[in-house]
Amino acid sequence: MDSFLLQVTAGLANGGIYAAVGLALVMIHQATHHINFAQGEMATFSTFIAWAMIQAGVPYWLAFVATMVVSFVAGLLIQRIFLKPVEKAPILTNVIVFVGLLVIFNAFAGWIFEHTIKSFPSPFPVEGMFLAQYFSGHQIGSISVTLVVLLSVFCFFRFTPLGLAMRAAAFNPESARLVGIRVSWMLALGWGMAALIGAVAGMMIAPIVFLDPNMMAGILLYGFAAALLGGIDNPWGAVVGGVILGVLENILGAYVIGSDLKLTMALVLIVTILIFRPYGLFGKPIFSRV
């Protein structure tokens, strides 16, 4: 029983990370209706920046915030420089750009920071603050950080005029322009925010999986599955999806399929959802009358 509970709690912590990555994907999808394949690589790169700062003696939380700011600006610039020129191009052109970004970031991370595996510090105590036999300090910490990020994103989209404008620009760019929304900048903002969320996810997962240029490759896949499971345009769904996935992965891995097939499970899940329930558990199908 005890080991089962341990699997569940470890799953919850991992799920929090998947949720954050899923959330970043949902962000870009809400703003642009695209899935950014370079999301994971961008997050890894951000984590390296944080690592470099911490190595240079910058206090953890200062490095954390600075990395968030740098990632936001970088995301914004990436959209302005690489994606604005192909804004009106067919979706496949955009996908090629995403793949290009993925390779570029991966290569640069390896070139600048080398491929050796690095340990990344956790700002949280080793002992859990409560239920210490089940949760480590880092697990509780990363779950809390994910929740704070989610809540801010939700409030931003739901309650601010800018959030509403971003949603409008994504749903109907033509009409959005007619009410005065600068659509292209909304996309850039979406990229900035996604990069920021990805950076947070990277910094939270790095102490668990260690840092190297391919750190996020597998996690991005879980992020996809989380976002799809919850519904690709539902931020809450991505989080619930992430948590379900994390727990499911750990339990199935421990008792049923073994740890080798964990990642396969995420892929099977993606395919199954796309076939049977493409709008996910919590996404709502959009109705429209003519």
């Binding site: 509403l164 949603r167 033509e174 322009r177 007619l178 009410v179 005065g180 959009i286």
Partner: protein, 236 residues
Amino acid sequence: MKLLDVTNLNAWYGPNQVLFDLNFDLKVGGITTILGANGAGKTTTLRAVCQAVQTTGSITFIDKRIDGKATEDIVRVGIAHVPDGRGTFTALTVEENLKLGAYTRKDRHEVQVDLERMYSRFPRLKERFRQQAGTLSGGEQQMLAISRALMLRPRLLLLDEPSFGLAPLIVKEIFEIMRQINQEDQVSMLLVEQNAALALNLADHAYLLETGKVVLSGPAADIKADESIRRVYLGY
């Protein structure tokens, strides 16, 4: 005094020229209608005013040139557009649609006042303010589109076929409300319509478009009274 003055307007979709040396103007407080058959360039004329197509020629709004501005900035001088197909944000709620109409305004309190005014003018929108806008009926979506445009407190309202696809009774209601808006709120209108009889009843001035050129213009009453024009160009 002229609110909108358009001279030698040409417009293209890619390599295809659609408007040829169009000249028209609009008085402050007036309703002007642009009539013509399918493909005459009516919708393109409105899109040209909003700079949503490629144009040459000059467009002057309250003595300022607006041609060459971005579509997003045309809104900021006070021109609201009820586009072809209504432009509803179908996935958003009715209230969110209305708030988006006031996106460029900074006077948050006044926006709230205007929201209430829209609800009293269109009670059916109030009943459905939390509902996904895409689930509204055609007539309700047209009302929403007009209200959304009015939320800007525009000087000029561009209306693209507000009667399209609606039942005659609803059309009558909407045109009556448009008349009220024009008189009570002093909003000038540029109305594009296929239903000429309806448009000529509402408008005070009319232009007739044929394959991208103005072939006729004059007071709406005169055109309505001239049977030969009606027969040849308007088909009723």
